[in-house]
């Protein structure tokens, strides 16, 4: 028995070590290897620069664009579009979700329209928005706003509706008014679901930004990409792709920070 137990604990220890290795070093191995192969392919002429610039060239271009101010200024333009679109979309989604979630009449008025809206892919509205709003900033912001309403709306609405009725009963039994019930019970219980919606909205907004910026832009990341395409500057294209990826990561990080602060009361399911 004893020897068996010792053997077992040995095995457990070794497997734990293996997991920690894969955690701290192993995960970086394959991406770095890919980068090396890519660099090697570019240097040896296997990958022509017209097809894809070498990683070293991309980094050089990135530094150049940052120093010249070209990248920061255009990034700011794109960022402003996302921010404006999100502000409107999330704001509308919140308002509609509250109306539909908290009142029966509101649900009857709002929900059918939202379900119809859901069936129309936001990007399919691009031509219509160009006809309506021209080719300036408005259609770009409007597209982002339109696309981000729904995830916020749906998650807030269903979050409100899935409130634990037993908690609501308890609050009622202590004489809380309707407004107090909403503030202390319904909204906090809908918050986790709302944050999921917000996360969706953020990733959708960047997706829509990429497409919206292809509409005759004179500034922004999309403009940079279009220009680079005309001059076959694959290095600039890759830089912009990297920036899009970083924007996405940043959006995700933002929601994580909000979640960590707003949902401290939840016991963590995954051990840290």
């Amino acid at each position: 028995m004893a020897s068996l137990a010792i053997g077992h604990s040995h095995g457990a220890k070794r497997s734990r070590r293996r997991i920690s290795l894969s955690r701290f070093g192993g995960r970086w191995l394959s991406p770095v290897l890919l980068l090396l192969l890519w660099e090697l392919g570019s240097r040896s002429g296997l990958i022509p620069e017209r097809t894809l610039a070498a990683p070293s060239a991309v980094i050089g271009t990135l530094i150049e664009m940052v120093i010249s101010g070209e990248l920061p200024s255009n990034l700011l333009v794109s960022f402003a579009r996302v921010a404006a679109g999100l502000l409107m979309g999330v704001g509308l989604g919140l308002a509609l979700g509250l109306v539909a979630g908290l009142s029966r009449a509101g649900e009857l008025a709002v929900d059918p329209l939202m379900q119809i809206k859901r069936t129309i892919p936001a990007l399919a509205l691009t031509p219509l928005f160009i006809v309506w709003f021209g080719i300036g900033e408005t259609p770009k912001v409007a597209l982002i706003a339109f696309a981000t309403i729904f995830p916020v709306y749906l998650n807030l609405y269903s979050g409100i509706r899935s409130v634990d009725l037993r908690l609501l009963d308890a609050a009622k039994s202590f004489g809380l008014s309707r407004a107090e019930q909403i503030w202390h019970v319904i909204l906090p219980s809908a918050l986790p679901s709302l944050l999921v919606g917000l996360r969706y909205a953020l990733s959708v907004s960047i997706l829509v930004l990429v497409v919206a910026e292809q509409i005759n832009a004179s500034a922004g990341l999309g403009y940079l990409i279009n220009n680079a395409r005309d001059f076959m500057r694959t290095d600039i294209i890759v830089v912009c792709l990297m920036v899009y990826a970083i924007l996405g990561l940043g959006a995700d990080w933002l929601v994580r920070v909000i979640e960590a602060r707003a949902l401290v009361w939840r016991p963590s399911i995954v051990e840290q």
Partner: protein, 260 residues
Amino acid sequence: MDARLGFSTVDTAVHQPHPDPVVRLRNFTRRFGANTIIDGLDIDIAPGEFIALLGRSGSGKTTLLRTLAGLDEVRGQDVEVPDSRAVVFQDARLLPWKPVWKNVGLGLKGEIRPRAEAALKEVGLSHRIDAWPLTLSGGEAQRAALARALVREPKLLLLDEPFAALDALTRYRMHDLVLSLWRRHRPAVLIVTHDVEEAIALADRVLVLDQGRIVAEERITAPRGERASFSARLREKLLSTLGGDDHGVVPFASTLEAAE
């Protein structure tokens, strides 16, 4: 019944109800569709009285409790309940997103932290005042729920099978706690339970509800802690009314035999 027994069947013809009861129900009836859940119920609860309500599931005790808690509408019915009342549910029903002390002070106006602190100290939970409810044990959560009820200084305290989910040892401790809190604050207490022992150990008066009617009513005069001598006989009596004839099921039949 012989007074030496320590308990007696309440004779409604002789028994004088309290002139100014906290709770007064007259001919209270509640139906859901064709189902009559509660059928012409008369109940008086005197100030500071400790009542246990026994009944099997489906006997209407939850409906009665919801009515007394003010959770159900009582349109056109003769129901008097005090405004200051508080409920402790079987599941503590603490809001998980508020720390314990904010749960205790839920809905109170003004400076709530000191009041919550005092209430939590009374139930022996001072050390968990800032804890998140989901980190509490079952017994701790029920203590917090008790504190939340008591901080309101209710005239009527409703306990809905509050200890059913606790282990035996914790349950006995909670019995002691509830009794000491009751002695200090003197609310009228109605505890809904299906545990006959619990009812005998705690109450001044035991009501048995079956099919929406009161089928038995026992007044226990012996002081708490000196009830062991007759508790087996009373339990047997209550169980026989609880057991119901046409249902054919006698709950706890085996424990009954074991006790004799």
